[in-house]
């Protein structure tokens, strides 16, 4: 069709698709799924960090941590807005999250037993997220791309803060250094899994790349990320827990070991450390907040009724 032709042209020209443009139903659905999943990840991702808000070991760190978790709530909101332009409601997305029918990033199903995890999440998890997300700033769908521009800016700030937390620990007492290394040991592989399964096992990637929703393969992104980590780990004095990690002079890239993909699938299947807890917390906050949202809605309705009467 002419519409389809126009859509394909826009994509080919690296132009942006906007909400009023025609788009294939599969494109819309793919985007909704991806944006909602991304939004849900931001929301659920608040939990592992909020675990340390009350115990943050300095007031400055407490403030930075609160600001970060708050940013994540903000990202969730932008992304829900972007998804709404595709015709899906926020309530609907929330219900799917609560009901467990929508996905979110598995990384947030890991626990945060130590303060150093606040560093590892920033450095490794946000670092991996940025590698995934920077290309999304050029995503073909306009509202999504623009939301990602804003989000990426904040994420890179978060990554730096994570790096600083680890740096402080590595400059600290032996116990602090050990805390940092132990945490990085736990988060390194899960962070690498954030790029998704190996390319030959990633069914939806090809189409997303054709549509320019996605621009690099999983393995390519993973390799870039590790390349970025290595010099930073040296600065920190931290060992990356991959004995197979070596520079390949010939390929001009790092050779690296494989994450434990069985663990990846286990967590994805709901058998991770904190899957149950994450969902329970979100459900409880939603359910226990219901009377507050109802009150706000009732009040707003009454106010606008009053305004109408006054105007009329």
């Amino acid at each position: 069709s002419a519409e389809e032709q126009q859509f394909n042209d826009l994509i080919a020209q690296d132009s942006r698709i906007e909400p009023r443009d025609w788009m294939p139903e599969a494109y819309r659905k793919t985007l909704i799924r991806q944006i909602a999943q991304h939004a849900h990840s931001e929301i659920i991702g608040m939990q592992p960090e909020s675990n340390w808000i009350l115990r943050a070991p300095s007031l400055k760190r407490k403030a930075i941590l609160i600001a970060k978790v708050q940013d994540e709530a903000g990202h969730g909101l932008y992304l829900y807005s972007a998804a709404q332009t595709l015709g899906v409601g926020r309530d609907e997305m929330t219900e799917q999250l609560i009901a467990g029918t929508a996905r979110y990033s598995s990384i947030f199903n890991y626990a945060t037993p130590t303060w150093a995890d606040m560093g590892s999440i920033g450095w490794l998890v946000d670092g991996a997220a940025i590698c995934n997300q920077v290309p999304l700033c050029r995503a073909s769908y306009g509202p999504y791309g623009r939301a990602m521009v804003r989000i990426c800016k904040e994420e890179s700030f978060h990554q730096r803060q994570g790096f600083e937390i680890l740096l402080e620990l590595m400059n600290g007492t032996p116990e602090q250094r050990q805390m940092a290394q132990e945490s990085v040991n736990r988060w390194y592989w899960p962070a690498l899994m954030m790029f998704g399964p190996p390319d030959d096992d990633s069914p939806n990637s090809a189409r997303s790349m054709a549509w320019k929703i996605k621009r690099f393969s999983n393995d390519e992104l993973r390799r870039r990320f590790v390349g970025m980590l290595v010099p930073q780990a040296e600065v920190l004095g931290l060992t990356l827990p991959d004995p197979d990690l070596t520079w390949n002079e010939e390929k001009q890239a790092y050779d690296m070991g494989q994450p434990d993909w069985d663990e990846f699938h286990e967590v994805l299947a709901g058998r991770g450390q904190m899957n149950a807890q994450r969902m329970q917390r979100r459900r409880d906050a939603h359910d226990e907040g219901a009377w507050v949202r109802e009150a706000a809605a009732a009040y707003a309705a009454r106010q606008s009724a009053t305004t109408e009467r006054v105007v009329a």
């Binding site: 808000i53 115990r55 007031l59 978790v69 602090q176 009377w291």
Partner: protein, 245 residues
């Protein structure tokens, strides 16, 4: 001078304890917008606490973190209102509304303190407290005028925190030492009452009657919530005394 430092502790501890309570809500609020709003308020309060505690500590060569993490319950100077548990959202709003109205009245006057540091902190903080009061006021109106359930819960919330209002406006011997520097709490009551009366009138609420707690926060007598709150807040810092973070 130690008297000013002691006074700075009052205000710093009020802010810190309330921020710590509010921190619990982040990721648990009734809607995402409230995770953000409550996070904002907590952040502002931590900022105020850091200013006051740095100033308080400077008298004895201690840092803000030494003040926050290495004082025991009996060394804290927060008023008990700030120590009240979050309860449900209505309790939190009731407590925050009172806290905000009190701090707003206080900072407004403290801007004119002869102590330049206190005056500067107050001048910077009052704009933020303005937002806190507005946030709480909007929610008081919404909950009071929302559903029967929300109204009932708000009334209970106010009844439960109201016993801790009087302490906020009680003068202490320290006030006599700090004429022109500190604000005499008792003189803030009219401004507080006026604002509360206006909001309560709009919300069709009545000022609760009933218990009045003795208070004593300014001399280190605290509500039973403070011990466990500090245990959690200080646990990591105390595990690594002298460490930097």
């Amino acid at each position: 001078p130690p008297a000013v430092a002691e006074y700075a502790l009052w205000l710093g501890d009020d802010a810190l304890v309330l921020a710590q309570n509010l921190g619990w809500w982040i990721s648990r609020a009734p809607e995402l917008e409230e995770d953000i709003a409550i996070g904002n308020i907590a952040l502002d309060l931590i900022g105020h606490a850091r200013s006051f505690l740095s100033y308080a500590g400077s008298a004895s060569g201690r840092t803000e973190d030494e003040m926050a993490y290495f004082r025991g319950e009996e060394e804290y100077r927060s008023a008990q209102l700030f120590e009240q548990a979050n309860g449900d959202f209505a309790h939190t709003i009731a407590r925050n509304f009172i806290a905000g109205c009190f701090q707003h009245a206080l900072y407004e006057r403290l801007q004119g303190s002869h102590d330049e540091t206190l005056a500067a902190i107050a001048a910077k903080s009052i704009k933020e407290v303005d937002y806190h009061v507005d946030h709480a006021t909007q929610w008081v109106l919404r909950l009071a005028g929302g559903t029967a359930k929300s109204r009932r819960r708000l009334i209970v919330g106010f009844a439960d925190v109201w016993p801790y209002v009087d302490e906020l406006f009680r003068d202490e011997p320290l006030n006599d030492e700090l004429a022109g520097v500190a604000v005499r709490q008792s003189t803030l009551r009219p401004a507080f009452d006026t604002r509360v009366a206006a909001v309560f009138a709009e919300a069709e609420l009545e000022v609760p009657v009933g218990f009045t707690a003795t208070g004593g926060g300014r001399v280190g007598k605290h509500h039973e919530t403070l011990g466990p709150l500090l245990a959690e807040m200080q646990v990591l810092a105390r595990q690594f005394p002298g460490a930097a973070w």
